[in-house]
């Protein structure tokens, strides 16, 4: 595998293998010196065309724990503002001899274009509303730690699915691994067409709560109000926000996930955010290990995922 653009580059077996490999890197992260020389001499560049402190820090920590060198190409300080084309930027960074580019872009498909212009491995760290494969992998890893398996499990994804790359990748990942997924949102926050999506849809969070093994809350962005997608955040919270009363309707074992940053008081109340079943910080921790696994697979092992099974 050369690039990680979407989870389809991995397939279900590839996702499972990354999750297995992530265990190794969780162990590395727990060491006194959480650093191994596996990617010594490799250079990873960040091409972040959209702000994202969390994802960038997570990738950067992962790369450093693998001893890779890192280059930071951030839009505000670069030639993008001077009108340099995306292709010129990519070719320039390529010419510096990088082994991988971690790309965050506000346009769907930008990493796919970039992959055509460079010999480096391209890792999609979020493109528009399209995909966020490493987020989905860390979500899967976190869920697997809590639920053991996906087969027959029911996961509800709640919130602004229409504009969410996390939701698109998570739906793909969760269903790929055998879970049932229900999307819970007002109709205006669902994708306009769900043909081909192996999901159920509900507008009634309360009826869904008792049936789930995990609840995935998405960040509700305030600007959605001005686009007339919802009347107000207050009305959204009343219908789709998770408060203590609603959390009490969840089965005992069910966990609550959120990609962060949380809007306390909108999609989740402060009290629920601090419950033990809300595993947001586990997601952050696991994110580093998952990204170590991805970087190692693309740059380190030199082994195609599909062939490791035989050994």
């Amino acid at each position: 595998m050369k690039h990680l653009l979407t989870l389809d580059d991995l397939g279900a077996d590839g996702v499972r293998e990354i999750l297995d490999l992530t265990d190794t890197f969780v162990e590395v992260s727990e060491r006194q010196i959480p650093r191994v020389p596996a990617l010594r001499g490799k250079t990873v560049a960040w091409l972040f065309y959209e702000d994202s402190t969390r994802t960038r820090l997570s990738f950067e920590t992962a790369a450093k724990r693998l001893s890779a060198d890192t280059l930071n190409f951030s839009v505000s300080s670069s030639s993008v503002k001077k009108g340099e084309s995306l292709r010129d930027t990519v070719e320039t960074v390529s010419a510096m001899g990088v082994d991988a580019m971690v790309v965050r872009h506000s346009s769907a498909g930008a990493p796919h274009r970039i992959a055509g212009w460079t010999d480096a491995s391209v890792i999609n760290a979020g493109d528009g509303r399209h995909a966020h494969p490493t987020q989905a992998l860390l979500d899967c890893f976190t869920l697997r730690s809590n639920l053991q398996s996906f087969e027959g499990r029911h996961i509800a994804i709640v919130g602004d699915i229409k504009h969410s790359r996390v939701a698109r990748s998570d739906v793909r990942a969760f269903t790929m691994l055998g879970a049932e997924v229900t999307l819970v949102a007002p109709q205006t926050l669902l994708p306009p067409c769900l043909d081909g999506w192996p999901v159920k849809v509900s507008h009634d969070l309360d009826s869904v709560l008792p049936t789930v093994d995990a609840l995935y809350l998405l960040r509700m962005q305030k600007e959605r109000m001005t686009e007339a997608l919802i009347p107000s955040l207050r009305e959204y919270s009343a219908g789709y926000g998770l408060d203590l009363a609603r959390a009490a309707q969840l089965p005992q074992h069910a966990v609550v996930l959120h990609p962060g940053p949380m809007n306390r008081g909108v999609e989740i109340t402060g009290e629920v955010a601090d419950l033990p079943r809300t595993v947001v910080l586990d997601q952050v921790r696991n994110g580093i290990a998952v990204r170590m696994a991805v970087l190692y697979l693309l740059l380190g092992s030199g082994v195609d995922l599909t062939t490791t099974g035989a050994q």
């Binding site: 293998e17 162990e27 010196i33 191994v36 020389p37 596996a38 092992s301 030199g302």
Partner: protein, 181 residues
């Protein structure tokens, strides 16, 4: 099974029988006790994957002889190798260091000593876990062809080989043969 990866080992000659193997382990256990004047502070670390079961057997032998069972751990050095690409990280190859290694005597255990690169990687890895007082090396087979200044302290069997041959150390003995695609 040890590297190289890819291919199937085909045995040609039996080098050690199951009994020979047991006797070699027994002898190496004695040497470890003798060299270290007992087992105080000794930790056995088996290298994934071929050295782990040997470390376990060695630990059992030491207990039988000395009455004390030293801590036994395992170490996967895939992330420390300088010849990355030859061996992927295998999720089942767990690193488990059961005790703090500071001021301990660490005995690394592996099945076959060949170029020495695995041991070099293991020394780097051990350094990340602590600062042992000394590190010693026990291998079941030393087949020669060293590429680094590394020498074992305890040897089950010295076995001159050709570079293109392969050695398989398993529970029922040691075989010499070839890897076939």
């Amino acid at each position: 099974m040890t590297p190289p990866f890819g291919g199937v080992f085909v045995a040609r000659t039996e080098v050690l029988s199951a009994d020979d193997l047991k006797r070699a382990i027994w002898r190496m256990a004695h040497e470890i006790i003798e060299r270290n004047q007992g087992l105080d502070n000794v930790v056995l670390i088996g290298l994934q994957t071929g050295g782990v079961w040997l470390a376990v057997l060695l630990g059992e032998a030491l207990e039988e002889i000395d009455g004390n069972h030293p801590p036994v751990g395992s170490l996967d050095v895939a992330l420390y190798r300088d010849d990355i690409g030859l061996r992927p990280v295998m999720p089942e190859a767990v690193t488990d260091i059961p005790v703090d290694l500071d001021n301990r005597t660490v005995v690394l255990v592996d099945d076959v000593l060949f170029t020495g690169r695995t041991i070099r990687a293991a020394l780097d890895a051990i350094a990340d876990f602590g600062r042992p007082r000394s590190v010693q090396l026990a291998v079941m087979v030393d087949r020669g062809h060293r590429e680094l200044p590394i020498r074992p302290d305890y040897i089950g069997k010295n076995l001159p080989t050709r570079r293109d041959e392969a050695v398989d150390v398993h529970q029922n003995g040691v075989d010499l043969g070839e890897m076939q695609k």
